[in-house]
């Protein structure tokens, strides 16, 4: 197992070198759907982080018991359980936010990012590595969501986290908070990240 990445490597790779959104292009549905305000994006990222951490932990603990052809079933079962818990917690303690996010919280179950981390890391490496992998990936995912949401909220409403940052004369670009704004923003940001990392490689 010498060629497996160490916990620290896993953590760092999650943030930018293997960023779930910008590098792996995973979990794009929530990235597009709930990023019209920072609050929604941060809550979404926190929910994903919770599920990813728990799922990675459980998967790593039972990794020696997994049968290859039944592993995906076990992953999905684990993920679905923690997503349901996250969904109920939000509905109980952040009721308005849970209404805003609507079906996108239950849809974390099919977020490929989590099943990918279970498959790539947690089912092969010890618990500590799995936890730091989850932490790194969640952080990377959170940053990616926040970057898209930040651009959209500022340009679309002139506000950031609900506080006004642009002068009141700013003509709110309504398109930015609507679905097309999500595609435009993500496209441009992806391009920028690719251009930046491509430039560094030369």
């Amino acid at each position: 197992m010498a060629d497996q990445p160490t916990p620290l490597e896993r953590f760092i790779q999650g943030i930018l070198p293997e960023n779930p959104v910008y590098r792996q292009l995973l979990g794009l549905c929530p990235t597009l759907a709930v990023t019209n305000s920072m609050k929604a994006a941060v809550t979404m990222a926190a929910a994903v982080a919770f599920v990813l951490l728990c799922a990675n932990m459980v998967t790593s603990l039972i990794r020696n018991l997994l049968k290859p052809h039944l592993r995906i079933v076990v992953f999905t079962l684990t993920i679905a359980t923690f997503v349901t818990i996250a969904d109920r917690l939000l509905a109980a303690y952040m009721y308005q936010m849970s209404k805003t996010l609507g079906p996108y919280i239950p849809l974390i179950i099919v977020n490929c990012l989590i099943i990918c981390r279970c498959e790539v890391c947690a089912s092969k490496q010890p618990v500590f590595t799995a936890i730091s992998d989850a932490a790194g990936q969640s952080l990377g995912y959170g940053l990616a969501l926040a970057s898209v949401a930040g651009v959209r909220e500022i340009l679309g409403t002139g506000m950031f986290f609900g506080f006004r940052v642009l002068p009141a004369t700013w003509p709110d670009w309504a398109v930015m908070v609507l679905p097309p704004g999500a595609f435009i923003t993500l496209g441009l940001l992806l391009g920028a990240v690719n251009w930046y990392s491509g430039r560094g490689a030369k």
């Binding site: 039972i62 018991l65 997994l66 049968k67 039944l70 079933v73 076990v74 079962l77 684990t78 679905a80 359980t81 349901t84 818990i85 109920r88 917690l89 509905a91 109980a92 303690y93 009721y95 609507g102 079906p103 609507l178 679905p179």
Partner: protein, 225 residues
């Protein structure tokens, strides 16, 4: 039987290939997870129901008096006394229970009724609150609690602009959905591109009013005596 039992190696092989035995991890995890989810639901379920009830109660002043008057009422630190009631309506031999909130001013005067009803929408169940004046003559307001209509089209039914049309409508005639601008008193302008969603809401409202008109009038009178 004799054939399958003769070779111990084959027997062991069959044992290992048994579907149920292979799935032991899935089955036991499913049980553990199921129990923990039941526990979570038992702990959080009441809180979630409470949240929904509070949301309903918060909406009552706006639904009965309209936005401005409701703000004025809140500013003068007055509030409705809200009593949740369940009203049974018997139709075709089947009893149906309506969840109704009775709102009274602080001096005991009946302020109106808010009823929580649901019905089939275009995508999924639409759950809404309908405000009615004390005599069930006019609709005082409409609020959509829960819906999963098409984003961008059907979900416009939650917007104040659309649901505002309902305030002040008489309950005497059934409401009707029309396209391209309502002209007559009992007409409701459909959401562009979402006639089915609009129709669903209006159907739910019409049915509710038909069912509840008499029971609510009786309930209001009973309290007065």
């Amino acid at each position: 039987m004799a054939e399958t039992d003769k070779d111990p190696a084959e027997k062991k092989n069959r044992f290992q290939n048994n579907y149920i035995l292979q799935a032991w991890l899935c089955i036991s995890l499913a049980l553990i997870f199921g129990i923990s989810l039941a526990a979570v639901q038992a702990a959080l379920g009441p809180v979630i129901i409470e949240n929904k009830l509070n949301e309903t109660k918060e909406k009552v002043p706006e639904l009965l008096l309209g936005g401005e008057a409701a703000d004025k009422m809140a500013a003068s630190k007055q509030a409705f006394k809200i009593t949740p009631r369940s009203i049974a309506v018997e139709k075709n031999g089947i009893k149906k229970f309506y969840s109704v909130f009775e709102a009274r001013f602080e001096d005991g005067r009946l302020g109106g009724w808010v009823t929580k009803v649901d019905g089939q929408g275009y995508a999924d169940k639409i759950e809404l609150l309908l405000g009615l004046d004390p005599s069930i003559e006019t609709i005082t307001g409409l609020f959509i609690l829960d819906q999963k209509e098409t984003p961008g089209l059907g979900n416009k039914i939650i917007e104040t602009k659309w649901r505002g049309q309902f305030a002040g409508k008489s309950t005497r005639d059934h409401l009707k959905v029309v396209k391209g601008g309502a002209k007559v008193a009992n007409e409701i302008d459909a959401v562009t591109g979402a006639t089915i969603s609009s129709d669903s809401v209006v159907t739910i409202i019409n049915k509710t009013i038909t069912d509840l008109r008499q029971p609510l009038k009786d309930a209001g009178r009973m309290k007065k005596e």
